[in-house]
Structures are given as structure tokens and as C-alpha cells.
């Protein structure tokens, strides 16, 4: 037994065991199935490229809007005096942007604007995905 273990402990034995691994043969239809897959791949339409030309104006507008909103937010936060002296419903936190200052009329304006923005972005994405790249 000891001799057997010693033999196996030698690298040669590990080499022999791992080198002698039996080879397998690919199945007879393997090459044909690979070629079928290759032909399918060639026949498949190329992936639709992203329509940067169409998307760019929308992206620029979105970027500008985001920047304006951020800027407005920063301006509001930078004026703590205004925020605390605001006469507004107690239900609305004092840090809310000035858009709520004008009461129900102003809020309605902002809601309409938000809805309009949502509508435009939906229409824009529908146009982009319509396949007319």
C-alpha cells in the first residue's frame, strides 16, 4: 500500500493520470450544425443602430431642462430667507420651490407643463422606435 501511495505522490503518476484522458469524438452532425448556426447568423438582419441623429435634439433639450431645474433648485436652496418667510399652506414644507407660491393657479400651470413634457418625451421615444432610423 505504502509503495502505491508513494508512486502516486510522484509527479509522474499525476502526469500519467491526467495525460491519459480519453479523447471524445464530436458527434457526426456537429460540423453541419455549426455551419447551420453560422448561416443563420449571416442571414439574420444586422442589429438596428441607435438613431443618434434623431435622438440628439431630444437629448440636448433634456440636458438643458435638467440643468435649468438643478440650477433653480440650487438658487432656491441658497436663499434660506425667502424659504422661511413664505406664506404657504402648513402642509407644504418650507423648502418647496417657489412654483407653489402662487397658489392653485400656479400649480395648475406647472402640472400642465409637466404633462406636456411627458407627452413630448413619449412622442419622441415612439418616433425613435418606429423603425425609421
Amino acid at each position: 500500500m505504502k509503495r502505491l501511495i508513494e508512486r502516486l505522490i510522484e509527479n509522474d503518476e499525476i502526469d500519467r493520470a491526467l495525460s491519459r484522458e480519453d479523447d471524445i469524438l464530436p458527434s457526426s452532425g456537429f460540423a453541419a450544425s455549426v455551419m447551420d448556426a453560422v448561416r443563420r447568423e449571416v442571414a439574420a438582419p444586422p442589429p438596428i443602430p441607435f438613431p443618434w441623429k434623431r435622438a440628439l435634439p431630444g437629448l440636448v433639450v433634456a440636458g438643458v431642462v435638467l440643468a435649468v431645474v438643478l440650477l433653480a433648485g440650487i438658487v432656491v436652496l441658497a436663499e434660506p430667507g425667502r424659504a422661511t418667510t413664505r406664506h404657504f399652506s402648513t402642509a407644504v414644507p418650507s423648502m418647496m420651490p417657489p412654483m407653489f407660491d402662487g397658489g392653485i393657479q400656479s400649480a395648475a400651470t406647472w402640472t400642465v407643463l409637466a404633462l406636456l413634457l411627458a407627452f413630448v418625451s413619449v412622442k419622441l421615444s415612439m418616433r425613435l422606435t418606429s423603425g425609421r432610423a
Binding site: M1, L4, I5, L8, I9, N11, E13, I14, D15, R16, A17, L18, S19, R20, E21, D23, I24, L25, P26, S27, F30, A31, S33, V34, M35, A37, V38, R39, E41, V42
Partner: protein, 187 residues
């Protein structure tokens, strides 16, 4: 199997003759399926993985720089795919710690057939950590050619050498257990 055959076929495929790819497939199907088999020991899965390699090769034939031998590029691509495929869905491996200790020392004294012993060592390779297992698989697949194994793994030769050393060391530490092959625990 000559490098010029590969180069000719690659050029024809790149020129638009898709049927020339069949030459590449026929020449390399056995080595790629066998390499995959050594990674997963599952015939069906090894053919699936080899097919995926051929598809990737087809897509990226243009990236083969002709200063490297086609087979080196091919095996590196295959090894990379097999490794990531096995990371995604690992092979059910018998952990080295799950190999039962022999209850009776006489079990070791029994004359195990060479084939059984070899099988036990191969199974034990599957219980090794991936980096040692991959180095051992590639080294023995390439007929113990360290340079080719290192190229296939995309690693420096020294790193592969160190991993081979450590992998064998772990195997050697487990060899008394390996001799109790018939008593492998059912996982």
C-alpha cells in the same frame, strides 16, 4: 492540419465565402470539443460550448492578427469562453473534502486498476479551485507544453508554472483519499 490551410480559409471567409468556414470547423472540431469536455466532462455541453466558440470565431475572424498562429488565437478564445461559461454554470464537482476517508485501511491495499486510479485523480482535479484546475487542464491538454498552456490562458508562464505546482501539491496531499475511489460520497 497546416497553418496555411487556416489562413487560406480565413481569407476566403473574410472575402465573403462562408462555406470556407466549414474547413476550419472540420479541422478544429475535435480539439475544441475535447478541450470543452475536459472543462465540463459532459459530452452534450462540450459540443454546445464548442459551437459557441465557432460562432465567436466566425464573428471575430477579422480580429485575428496573422502574426500569431491561428491555433493559438483559437485556443485562447475557446479557453476564455469555457472559463466564463463554467463560472456562469459551474460543473457539479466533488469537493476534495467530500471524498470519504477509508474506513478500513485494507481498502487501500486492494489493487486498484490503473484506470480507476486515473479516474480518481481526474475527478479530484474538479475539486480544485478554478485557477489551479484551469492550469492543470490546459497543461495536460496541450501535452504538457507550458508555453502553449500559458498562451491559451493569457497568463505569464511563471504564473501558470506556480499554479501547476500548487495544484499538484493539493492533489498530492489528497492522494491517500483518492485511493478510496469506490467510496466517493454521493453528493
Amino acid at each position: 492540419m497546416s497553418p496555411s490551410d487556416d489562413q487560406t480559409d480565413v481569407e476566403r471567409v473574410l472575402a465573403g465565402d462562408i462555406s470556407a468556414f466549414e474547413g476550419i470547423v472540420r479541422r478544429w472540431q475535435a480539439p475544441l470539443v475535447n478541450l470543452a469536455y475536459r472543462f465540463c466532462h459532459d459530452r452534450g455541453r462540450s459540443e454546445e460550448m464548442a459551437q459557441e466558440v465557432f460562432l465567436r470565431v466566425f464573428r471575430s475572424l477579422g480580429q485575428w492578427r496573422k502574426d500569431a498562429v491561428f491555433s493559438t488565437w483559437l485556443f485562447a478564445l475557446a479557453t476564455n469562453l469555457y472559463r466564463s461559461e463554467l463560472r456562469r454554470i459551474p460543473v457539479h464537482a466533488v469537493s476534495l473534502d467530500d471524498i470519504a476517508e477509508p474506513a478500513d485501511a485494507r481498502a487501500l491495499a486492494g489493487d486498484l486498476e490503473d484506470r480507476d486510479r486515473d479516474l480518481a485523480v481526474r475527478r479530484a482535479v474538479f475539486g480544485l479551485p478554478a485557477k489551479y484546475r484551469e492550469a492543470l487542464i490546459l497543461f495536460y491538454f496541450h501535452d504538457m507544453d507550458l508555453t502553449t498552456a500559458a498562451r491559451s490562458l493569457g497568463l505569464p508562464e511563471g504564473t501558470v508554472k506556480a499554479r501547476l505546482f500548487r495544484g499538484r501539491e493539493i492533489l498530492r496531499g489528497k492522494i491517500p483519499k483518492l485511493l478510496a475511489v469506490p467510496r466517493l460520497k454521493e453528493a
